[in-house]
């Protein structure tokens, strides 16, 4: 991309802020659905997870000329469903219980989600601080021309 280095650093930090925000949104969704035993597909809710990907140099070259592309070093996230078996608990009074009185629960562990949430929120702050440092450096550079 022909964009200057100064703007690229902003884009890198901004891409990470967006990624961490997506991660927080997915965590909220997991916690909100932690007790959903039957979704639209008739199955219990399956935990979602964000997967990070770097924007690499060759990808930037391939897309050069197209507007809005992220610079190399930026991050992108995909949202994936986490495989694994659903845990069954005995609850015969539950409307979704099978003939044996077992209910299949979502594969969400709320404690794991909470830990992940703290991590995502701290990482968001760190990126914000990197952005602020860069902004100050640019401001000082601009002051040279006064």
């Amino acid at each position: 991309m022909s964009e200057s280095l100064s703007m690229q650093v902003f884009d890198i930090s901004a891409s990470a802020l967006a990624a961490e925000r997506t991660r927080l949104a997915v965590i909220s969704q997991n916690i909100a659905n932690a007790q959903v035993t039957k979704g639209a597909d008739g199955e219990p809710y399956r935990r979602h997870k964000v997967v990070f990907r770097s924007v690499l140099e060759d990808e930037v070259k391939r897309r050069s000329g197209q507007g809005g592309a992220l610079p190399a070093g930026a991050v992108r996230v995909d949202i994936a469903k986490v495989p694994g078996d659903f845990e069954s608990v005995k609850d015969p009074s539950h409307p979704h219980a099978d003939a044996l009185g077992m209910v299949r629960m979502p594969n969400v562990n709320v404690i794991d989600e909470m830990v992940d949430m703290v991590d995502a929120s701290r990482t968001y702050e760190a990126n914000l601080s990197a952005l602020r440092t860069w902004k100050q450096m640019l401001a000082r550079t601009l002051e040279m021309t006064r």
Binding site: L5, S6, Q8, V9, I12, S13, S15, A16, A19, E20, R23, F52, R53, S54, G73, A74, V75, D119, A120, R122, T123, A126, N127, S129, A130, L131, T133, W134, Q136, M137, R140, T141, E143, M144
Partner: protein, 123 residues
């Protein structure tokens, strides 16, 4: 190069290096959640060597040719998920880098102010 502008070239190169390093450190923080990411960093040794060659070795153009390069930091030990980014270090290095950037800008500033005074004929 006259006395009034001496060191401009070094300060300008230093700004190139601090900018490149800020980018590397921002990239590391951006990848803090990505398993397997090895932290990258910009070494300033090449700049020092270029200044030495240009000043003492009389090798003209050594300083103009040196460019900052971001490399994987092999000395940083990766954690259990293969990621070697550590927030505290990135933060401290980032503050240090910003100070160095400020040093270069203030140096250029004071030189420019000196030139300005000279042009106006003020003491």
């Amino acid at each position: 190069m006259s006395d009034l502008t001496r060191g401009f070239d070094v300060a300008a190169k230093l700004l190139d290096f601090t900018s490149a390093r800020a980018r590397a450190l921002a990239t590391n923080i951006a990848h803090a959640s990505q398993p397997g990411w090895r932290r990258v960093d910009v070494e300033f040794g090449a700049l020092l060597e270029a200044v030495r060659l240009e000043r003492d070795g009389g090798r003209k153009g050594a300083l103009a040719r040196v460019e900052p390069e971001a490399r994987i930091d092999e000395s940083a030990l990766p954690g259990s998920n293969g990621n070697s980014v550590d927030f505290e270090r990135e933060q401290v290095q980032s503050d240090k880098n910003a100070l160095l950037h400020q040093l270069a800008t203030e140096f250029i500033n004071s030189k420019l102010n000196g030139l300005r005074s000279a042009i106006r004929g003020q003491a």
